[in-house]
């Protein structure tokens, strides 16, 4: 399955990818996150297999299944995520693509944006990355652009905040 951030269909109407890719360091960030998800269960299963010899066969079988699936996840998810995640902020709207297997293109017009926050988790901080959260009046959740260079994120948040404050109204 190829991962291109373009939505094409019959009839020639296409949704083009947002202009900017996320920071390349995001690949490593995603990889570490994937490892944090996959490694603990593998370690626990291995430890259990060592401690409980009668059940070792079953536990090792489970370990192999988890390890193979986990390895696939660690190898594939960061690459596909990096290829699919893109973002763009024009004078009119914020446009972001996210996901890897389940894919999502989201658009929020500038006039409908209520708040813009940039945030840095501990792991993202270690890679010099940050995320920008764009909140609208919708209860369905904000648009989150992850894997940005910290300086880029701060700059983007500033720009968007200034732009949205310039628009009157309560964005509902």
């Amino acid at each position: 399955m190829s991962v291109t951030t373009e939505l094409t269909g019959p009839g020639g109407v296409r949704l083009r990818p947002p202009r900017n890719p996320v920071d390349p360091r995001a690949r490593r960030w995603w990889t570490v996150r994937a490892l944090l998800i996959v490694v603990p269960p593998v370690v626990v299963l291995a430890a259990l297999a060592a401690v409980i010899p009668p059940a070792a066969g079953w536990l090792l079988l489970a370990l192999v299944v988890v390890a193979v699936a986990g390895a696939g996840y660690v190898l594939v998810m960061p690459r596909w995520s990096y290829r699919f995640h893109r973002w763009e902020a024009t004078d009119e709207a914020v446009y972001a693509a996210s996901g890897w297997i389940f894919q999502e293109w989201r658009i929020a017009p500038m006039s409908r944006i209520q708040t813009v926050d940039s945030e840095r988790g501990p792991l993202a901080r270690a890679f010099g990355l940050a995320a920008v959260t764009v909140t609208t009046a919708s209860a369905a959740g904000p648009i989150k652009i992850v894997g940005l260079d910290a300086a880029t994120a701060a700059d983007l948040a500033h720009r968007l905040t200034a732009a949205t404050q310039a628009v009157p109204g309560d964005a509902t």
Partner: protein, 555 residues
């Protein structure tokens, strides 16, 4: 009583809401300096009851029932009683310390002795006022006022609640908060006794729809489940009940009748309980229902024991939703819900229940009545049976696949179990599922539809509950196009219109990408356009032609 608070009271005495014989012509609650008002003094007996109730009950049980009730159960009750007292005291402290005032700009509420909690919301953010009165409130002539703002920023910051004001004060707040301009200019009172006839009133013939709504059936069995829990907590086991003489007699009788008859009787009993329960719930919820158009606001009123009045600014309307649970649809009925900014409060399960109630514009009613009220409320009815565009065949294939896969999954589970526990042919039973599920697949596909009619984006989906949503096109505040790997294989996407109203998003499921993009551009011209790629062979820089010229001229 004097009332030096800045907002003048509307003239005349509003009809006390919901409380029989507890009318107090002027507003209630004493006033401190600075226009701060307290809750109604009648909260004191309520608080006293709350605090004194549990010890009295527990004491009586110890005195009278000590000899009969097992000690374990008695101690459980006692600990419940202590918890009740603590809750009562906390609530009483809260009640005593609440102060509120309406200034020119804001509604302010502060609570607490040592740690002062101060909350205030700008009056121009207020979208809805919800007045309710529980039976206990009504006995003492009290009501609860909830003020909705439709803000989703942060949590718990969306709603202000004043628990325990007099009905007259609740009415005053409703008038002051929602009729700000009218009230300050001409002292025009939002009609407490409207001159215009109600838009809709309860018709008792609609009681026939009560057993047809899933939610009421679920509520009935949910109530039975809830009843079971405290019994279980108190150590009463179903086995104990069976050991009771009467029940044992009945069970004994039951053993002598043939199995088919026993099953038939059981089914009949369950259906009867469900139908009666649903009817009872309908009466409790919808007794005295009326929907009024008050000019700038819509107001629904209803309730037998707990009364409820929801007032909503009309300019916050973003459309309507017609919901048709399977049985109700078969019976020709429908529910009508409002799609509006300011009624939604977060995502909690119980909140959602309350909200879906607050959103109801009608009890379960004939479909024609739902559409009549929709027209009356919106001016036009996007949900009427217009020709919605069907979805691609691939959408039907997905729904059929789901039925087949569900059947297969059950068959596999039964086959695996068949290796050890079940007879080897058990997996064949799963095949029965397929003819049951397939009609649902076809119905789910038939339900799918979308379109743009006048000012509205319309989407329809669902089989268990078929929903037809008409969302104001100017209420769309963003788009999401999403696809799962399965949708990708089938060449489909889901288009989601995000909105400030209700739960925040309405979906057009399983359309092909080009249709989705065209629909979005047709509904809100220009929002998506900057991100559309020029189709091949169109490098001259003009905007891609979506074949929308004709529709644009219509609008």
């Amino acid at each position: 009583m004097t009332d030096p608070a800045p907002p003048p009271e509307p003239t005349g005495s509003p009809e006390p809401y919901g409380a029989a014989g507890a009318a107090e012509p002027t507003g209630s609650g004493r006033t401190d300096e600075g226009g701060w008002q307290r809750l109604d003094p009648r909260n004191k007996p309520v608080a006293a009851l709350f605090i004194a109730g549990p010890p009295v009950v527990v004491g009586l049980l110890w005195l009278v029932g000590g000899a009969f009730i097992p000690p374990g159960l008695l101690w459980t009750i006692t600990s419940l009683g202590v918890t009740g007292v603590v809750i009562g005291v906390v609530a009483a402290v809260e009640w005593v310390t609440v102060r509120y005032r309406v200034t020119g700009e804001r509604l302010q509420v502060r609570t607490g002795f040592a740690v002062r909690n101060h909350r205030s919301i700008p009056r121009d953010r207020i979208r809805s006022v919800d007045i309710s009165a529980s039976p206990l409130h009504r006995v003492f002539g009290l009501a609860t006022v909830k003020v909705g703002t439709g803000q989703h920023v942060g949590s718990g910051n969306e709603e202000l609640k004043l628990d325990g004001v007099s009905p007259a004060e609740a009415e005053r707040l409703r008038a002051v908060l929602l009729y700000r301009t009218a009230q300050e200019g001409t002292a025009e009172k939002p009609a407490a006794e409207p001159e215009e006839p109600a838009v809709a009133r309860l018709n008792w013939a609609w009681l026939r729809y009560a057993p047809l709504t899933m939610s009421s059936l679920l509520a009935v069995f949910g109530a039975l489940g809830v009843l079971y829990k405290p019994l279980d907590a108190m150590g009463v086991k179903p086995a104990d009940i069976i050991r009771l003489g009467v029940v044992r007699g009945a069970v004994g009788e039951f053993r002598t009748v043939p199995l088919w008859l026993a099953i038939a009787v059981l089914v009949l009993v369950v259906v009867l309980v469900a139908v009666l329960g649903a009817a009872l719930l309908f009466v409790l919820t919808w007794y005295g229902f009326r929907l009024d158009d008050e000019g700038a606001t819509l107001r629904t009123r209803r309730g037998l024991l707990t009364t409820r009045s929801v007032t909503l600014e009309k300019r916050r309307l973003r459309g309507v939703e017609v919901a048709e649970p399977l049985l109700l649809r078969a019976g020709g009925g429908a529910r009508l819900n409002v799609v509006a900014v300011g009624l939604s409060t977060g995502k909690g399960e119980s909140d959602r229940d309350k909200d879906s109630n607050a959103r109801a514009l009608l009890p379960p009613a004939p479909r024609a009545e739902a559409h009549r009220v929709a027209v009356r409320v919106l001016g036009d009815d996007p949900t009427a049976d217009v020709a919605l565009r069907p979805h691609p065949r691939a959408a039907r294939r997905r729904r059929i696949n789901r039925a087949v896969l569900t059947t297969l999954a059950v068959a596999v589970v039964l086959a695996v179990l068949g290796v050890w526990w079940l007879p080897a042919w058990a997996w064949l039973c799963a095949l029965v599922l397929l003819p049951v599920l397939l009609p649902f697949s076809y119905d789910a596909y038939r339900s799918l539809g979308h379109g743009v009619t006048g000012r509205y984006l319309v989407t329809r989906y669902g089989t268990g509950i078929r929903r037809t949503v008409g969302l104001r096109r100017d209420g769309v505040i963003g788009w999401t196009v999403s696809r799962s790997p399965f949708q990708r294989r089938a060449g489909l996407v889901t288009l989601t219109a995000t909105t400030a109203a209700n739960d925040g998003a309405y979906k057009v499921r399983d359309v092909d990408p080009a249709t989705a993009l065209r629909l979005a551009e047709e509904a809100v011209p220009g929002m998506l356009a900057p991100f559309l790629a020029d189709p091949p062979g169109r490098a001259d820089g003009t905007k891609p032609d979506l074949g929308l010229a004709a529709q644009r001229e219509d609008n």
